[in-house]
Symmetry: D2
Subunit: 247 residues, 4 copies
Amino acid sequence: MASKLVAIIAGVGPGTGASVARKFAKTYPVVLLARKPENFESLADEINKNGGKAIGISTDVSSKDSLASALSAIEKEFGTNVGAAAAIFNASGGFLRKPFLEIDPSVFEQSLNVSALGGIVFSQAFLPLLLKAKEQGSEHPPTLIFTGATASVKSSAQLASFSTGKWALRALSQSLAKEFGPQGIHVSHAIIDGVIDIPRTKEWLKDLGPEAKLSSDGIANDYWYLHTQPATNFTWELDTRPAVEKW
Amino acid sequence: MASKLVAIIAGVGPGTGASVARKFAKTYPVVLLARKPENFESLADEINKNGGKAIGISTDVSSKDSLASALSAIEKEFGTNVGAAAAIFNASGGFLRKPFLEIDPSVFEQSLNVSALGGIVFSQAFLPLLLKAKEQGSEHPPTLIFTGATASVKSSAQLASFSTGKWALRALSQSLAKEFGPQGIHVSHAIIDGVIDIPRTKEWLKDLGPEAKLSSDGIANDYWYLHTQPATNFTWELDTRPAVEKW
Amino acid sequence: MASKLVAIIAGVGPGTGASVARKFAKTYPVVLLARKPENFESLADEINKNGGKAIGISTDVSSKDSLASALSAIEKEFGTNVGAAAAIFNASGGFLRKPFLEIDPSVFEQSLNVSALGGIVFSQAFLPLLLKAKEQGSEHPPTLIFTGATASVKSSAQLASFSTGKWALRALSQSLAKEFGPQGIHVSHAIIDGVIDIPRTKEWLKDLGPEAKLSSDGIANDYWYLHTQPATNFTWELDTRPAVEKW
Amino acid sequence: MASKLVAIIAGVGPGTGASVARKFAKTYPVVLLARKPENFESLADEINKNGGKAIGISTDVSSKDSLASALSAIEKEFGTNVGAAAAIFNASGGFLRKPFLEIDPSVFEQSLNVSALGGIVFSQAFLPLLLKAKEQGSEHPPTLIFTGATASVKSSAQLASFSTGKWALRALSQSLAKEFGPQGIHVSHAIIDGVIDIPRTKEWLKDLGPEAKLSSDGIANDYWYLHTQPATNFTWELDTRPAVEKW
């Protein structure tokens, strides 16, 4: 029996996650994971309507159990020999700039739970499906991509609740790249440095011109490009920012 | 009423923590935090016998409540206007090299709890005492030091359970250095790269000669040196390793 | 009068340079710069024979005067309003592993001259052509790419004669990315980490399997991908290595 | 015949170089290298008057021949079995912020010559003296220190003429640390991040308070501290900046 390869995307909001889903849906059935159904429902509808295939699964990506349920749902839909051509971790703890001593420890805990532990349990849940895709001879090397940020490499004042999780996630991605690269899995980390152009940021940076914000479709192109790199040429990390961005 | 400045050291085992405690005890009363009393009892005895002053407090450094209890014990002993000349976070999640898919998520959680969240709640508990020491005109700028490792800047295969916490801790230290430097608090991060010479490592690296392992007293000297730097010359980070170490 | 956009490639040997030239020649006339004609002659012939357009110019890329001559030759061939869609600096000082005290200073000088000063004068010679392409409304943002190596970010023992030039080149690329990004020029640096699969390395790493060496065509794809990124999503740096590479 | 150990300092201006010379002169005869005698004359006089021993040698640190002359002068003064307890490279190409296309290549060349090639030929000239000190059983491990800057790790727009040399110098220091550490030589790189408090900068940053500028004596203390680290605990790199510095 022929198997199906899917692409799994965790953290689908209006920006990167949705663009990545649309991009990968041109080739693979996509699985959309988000806590709240309203974050994936209309996107799944849109993809299904446009000739793609998408299912959304309400999932807490920081919970091993919730991810196990998601996996069951995926296997129910696509069969137990389903493999993953790509797994993309785009979830993140909340961005908060606040004096350190005024932040409740639960905020840090939450950030570490989503950005760091989330990345870990997501990887543990779906690396087996990526390895399965490799065994099944996927066209492109199965790819595990993590979305990073400026705060993944630079830890600003008052931003520790965000950066601690992001640095941990980057550490995870580097370790996994070294462990699973030799097994044929392509692990990447993208440093997204700038404001993404979504409805919520419509009014931001207007004085810097129409190209001051990152295109989420551009990020999706980057992720797809990473996915298509051959095993002889794996990129672990790239940074991306608008041309006019100060850095 | 004259106040007392203390040095607080979390994570006192046989190596770095004990050496740091002895070094700082030459100038300040020291507070030794460790979960198990056997980790600080003989050290406290030794310091008290040698003319210093030390108290040990059984503390879970990843727990806000446990740190609050420790703070109460410190204030009971040294008065409520006690300030901290130094707070040193030397605790760490366990070092484990193991295939990623064979590691239970609880191991990652534990590592993030101690290395990352521990550093956070430790800093939240004792930064107020460091700021108090600054107000009270401490001789040296109050100093918050975090112990890092090679795995703080490099994330090797099969080592993610250790490195994720260590990268998060480094992010914390950089953010705090930027936020609290301008408030007169010196925040540092030391990358300890190599094997520390303690009884447990006695037989290690013997073929590389007597200087192949880090001296924990040397590390304590580094920490003391950082502590004595003036506000015009704060070092955030230094690395340290044996001369013969490959890197 | 309509202008022509060309792609200029410095350092065309049997590996990366040739693959990049072939790739960009599918879209642009290419200008091949190398000191020795035998390094570009057969490649130019091949491209011209296959329907592309290529000219080779014997050039010392570390010499301002030699680059000025190259520019004259380009303008003579393509007109004085010629713009550059891409300029790719793939030249490098020689790789040498040798005890530091046994290396003649002229070796360091030569390496700095090619890798560092070469990158500088190459950029000064051709950034005006990239800016001209931008003015002329090139389809893709004009792109300046530098080829880096593992030694661009890590400086090993006995390798200083190579790494000093490579670090300097990386510094150049970062500064130029920040200065010329806002002017619409895409400046990138690629860390090529591993052995490239060329005739000279045919017998290397054979025990690691057929995918142990970097494909130079893969690198050319990366460079082309960078070239096609829109101004909202510029990647400054990416690393690339074989899946099985240890790092 | 007993040998003398000296400390050699290249680049003695009014700031770091002079402070370092005074500091090391408390223990060792110091050799002051600068192109212009007016940069070392009064400093040498001051040290000699205060009970230390200093000689100044007019030297172009980017010239192998000039350094060979300096070495002859040192051996003439201190004997041919003279060893160096420390060699400190504090010279630097000029700091220039200017649009890239307006900088004459000779400026880059000059910067690379002093910062990069200078560091190389300085190291080749005096590493043999450091190794001699090691053989002779110096009290502290012989130490080779390079002065870096913010621009050693960050390459800003319009600053490439300065940063290219500084990155190359940092690469040199890392390679030498790895090669000569195992031979007992301590090689360090100090990232000096901020304005140094010297007569020329008297009016700078006044609104940030009296501690907004680096103390050159503080830097000298750092260098001395590095010098006194034992072979079990070598620091390659530290950064240092005023507490109030933004970074």
